[in-house]
């Protein structure tokens, strides 16, 4: 098959796939007798139409950027990391432990430590599947799925039996004091009133730049991409595949754990049962939609942030539609950009190159 021009490969094809996903989503909404265009309008208003709605959109975007990067990083090395959900959950343990240890101290001191400590916990949780893949050959997909479930049980035990203070009914840790929490932007920017977007948002933006630099501008990133494209050649070129797999998985886990900094450190101020709430899984859709590139990941994360916040608004305005429609869209995006990503490649390349032009080559 003739390769497509670069712009079509990088921009047109993903865009077509995403459009297809949304078209199918629209048809599903239509099939239950609701108006998809009206739904889109309400969602757009809910996500961007007023200050606190926009703030919520950015808050969700923060989560999805980190989760998306956690999937993308591993994918560059040819690994499918389904585990950001569990990695973020375990990362929350690191965040709350350092937060509670330094409870009452100023956030300017605690925030960096939360990042480091959360990252260490998340990295450790992702390192084990990485190690098992590299040294024992067990497939990282299955292991990370299993680790998501193990994380749920383990964290459930830790939260309800160890961290839960006396006299508290719901399963959650003791709260952090206001001064220790990551400050929310509404303190400085009036526009974001009532919304939880916090300083972690800027960390997410910085992470996008960092990942671009890391993957495309360093020797390490070159090794990662070499491994992802051709493990045999990478090995022949002197790259230790085993070491790279372990490092990149740990790094992915560290990025996933930043979801915990956003939520545990910046929003809830305590460790709540199941606080990740699917954000890690959204990362899978974000990564495929954004093709693993930081620009793509940033834009897809914003799109999903919009869908999640707008979906909230939608549930109020159109009772026939639930927020789960967003999960459906998420699934369609993964399906069309991830699993069937090359479906349109054939027809597209036939459109670009007239059949008779290439017929002589074969």
């Amino acid at each position: 098959m003739t390769p497509l021009p670069r712009w079509a490969d990088v921009v047109l094809l993903p865009l077509l796939n995403v459009t297809l996903a949304f078209l199918v989503g629209g048809l599903i909404v239509l099939s239950v007798g609701q108006n998809p265009l009206q739904a889109v309008g309400i969602m757009l208003y809910g996500a961007f139409g007023y200050g606190s709605g926009f703030g919520y959109t950015l808050y969700y975007t923060t989560d999805f950027i980190f989760a998306g990067l956690a999937v993308s990083l591993a994918y560059h090395a040819g690994l499918f990391n389904i585990g950001p959900e569990g990695q973020a959950y375990v990362g929350g343990l690191g965040v709350i432990l350092i937060g509670l240890a330094l409870n009452g101290m100023h956030w300017a001191l605690v925030f960096p430590l939360m990042i480091i400590c959360g990252a260490l916990f998340g990295a450790a949780w992702a390192f084990i599947p990485g190690y098992l893949q590299a040294k024992r050959g067990s497939h990282v997909v299955i292991t990370t799925i299993m680790f998501n479930f193990i994380a749920v049980s383990m964290m459930g035990f830790i939260i309800s039996r160890i961290l839960k203070p006396e006299g508290v009914n719901s399963d959650e840790s003791a709260p952090l004091e206001a001064i220790t929490r990551v400050p929310q932007l509404r303190g400085f920017i009036e526009l974001f009133r009532n919304s939880p977007v916090n300083l972690t948002f800027f960390l997410a933006i910085a992470a996008l730049f960092f990942v671009y630099w890391l993957i495309w501008r360093t020797k390490f990133g070159y090794s990662v991409r070499a491994l992802g494209n051709n493990p045999v050649a990478a090995n022949y070129a002197g790259i230790s595949n085993q070491k790279m797999i372990m490092i990149i998985m740990a790094l992915a886990g560290a990025f996933a754990a930043m979801v915990a900094v956003n939520n545990v450190g910046g929003v809830q101020g305590r460790l709540i049962l199941n606080f990740v709430n699917g954000a890690g899984f959204v990362g899978i859709a974000v990564a495929f939609m954004g093709k693993g590139h930081p620009i793509g990941v940033g834009l897809s994360a914003l799109l999903f942030g919009m869908l999640y916040q707008g979906g909230q608004e939608l549930a109020f305005q159109m009772p026939g539609i639930t927020r789960e429609m967003i999960v459906t869209i998420q699934a369609l995006v993964i399906l069309f950009t991830g699993a069937m990503g090359d479906m349109m490649r054939g027809p597209l390349s036939r459109m670009f190159f007239q059949p008779d032009a290439t017929a002589g080559d074969k």
Binding site: V32, I284, E324, T328, I334, L335
Partner: protein, 324 residues
């Protein structure tokens, strides 16, 4: 003494009940993966099957039509999976993951749109469900010590799907290891090129496997919503598809061992709430979360080759491309 016997029978009885969807889903995955198609999407198909079965049964009042709808929904999901992984040669893992989310999203969304009960389908009763079948002589034998108890409680008194699940195991073993189709199925999962060279269509064979997968997992889904429970509720498969996948790996893609592993996982599930707060000699109190996580931990340990070695069918996950 009698009380202990009653307790044991009760635990084993619920072990059987809890193992049924795992057995069906495991066998379903077995056909797919033996043919070389990785099926992470068992969870989604189980959920979609459960929803479709409950919805159809609630509307028509017939459990059998419900079962048909459950299988139908699983077939649609398998069809998409086949399209993505056989025709478009896409990534099978990603497709499976997408289908799991699709099921989670669609069942809740459609459930709310159709029934307006917060994701629940209407409560089912009577002929809308598969009810327990009392096997012949169960009543008469009740007074026979031990045997009467086992026959009456453990073997008799289950719904039809339970018996189907247990019959499906030897049938699968026969199909897989004794029939021509089974030989081809195993071959296409190990070396599709050989199958192609022999003049058999790889695509056709893999689709056939996916159809059997859908039928079995669809029945498993229907079991959840119209046999075990009386209606569908949100995310009612609750990870059973993944447990079934774990059981399949644990059983090294063989039907007999799959049955045993599913029964073991079902047993863990059954004793979970009985051991809560109880103290054991040497171990002390076992947290319920540890029991919940055990199937997953065991699978990870097995996959890592610390106890035995699980080797997947060689061509699993690789789309087959004829020579260009």
């Amino acid at each position: 003494m009698d009380q202990i016997l009653v307790d044991i029978t009760l635990i084993l009885d619920s072990t059987v009940r809890l193992a049924v969807p795992l057995i069906l889903a495991s066998l379903a995955g077995l056909y797919s993966e033996r043919s070389g198609i990785i099926d992470i999407g068992l969870e989604g198909k189980l959920l979609a099957g459960a929803f479709a079965a409950a919805a159809m049964s609630a509307v028509t009042g017939s459990a059998w039509l419900g079962l048909l709808a459950g299988v139908g929904a699983a077939l649609v999901f398998s069809g998409i999976h086949g399209l993505a992984s056989i025709n478009f040669k896409g990534n099978q893992t990603i497709s499976g993951v997408a289908l799991n989310f699709l099921a989670a999203g669609l069942t809740t969304f459609l459930g709310q749109s159709w029934f307006r009960r917060g994701g629940y389908t209407p409560q089912l009763s009577g002929d809308q469900r598969f009810n327990p079948i009392t096997l012949p002589f169960a009543e008469e034998l009740r007074d026979v010590p031990v045997l009467g108890q086992i026959y009456g409680e453990l073997i008799s008194g289950h719904n039809i799907i339970t018996y189907v699940a247990f019959i499906a195991v030897p049938v699968t073993a026969w199909v897989l290891f004794r029939s021509r189709f089974g030989l081809r199925l195993r071959a296409v999962g190990e070396n599709p090129k050989a199958i192609d060279t022999a003049g058999i269509s790889v695509t056709r064979l893999r689709y056939q496997a996916l159809i059997i997968t859908a039928v079995l997992v669809g029945i498993g889904g229907a079991y959840l919503s119209i046999a075990q429970s009386a209606g569908f509720n949100n995310n009612m498969s609750a990870g059973r598809g993944y447990i079934a996948l774990a059981a399949l790996i644990f059983a090294k893609w063989r039907p007999g061992p799959a049955l045993l592993v599913c029964l073991m996982f079902g047993f863990l599930d059954a004793i979970q709430f009985r051991i809560q707060g109880q103290s054991f000699p040497f171990i002390g109190e076992v947290p319920v979360q540890a029991i919940q996580a055990l199937p997953y931990i065991l699978t990870v340990v097995l996959l890592a080759g610390f106890i035995g070695r699980a080797v997947a069918p060689k061509a699993a996950g690789v789309p087959y491309t004829k020579e260009r």
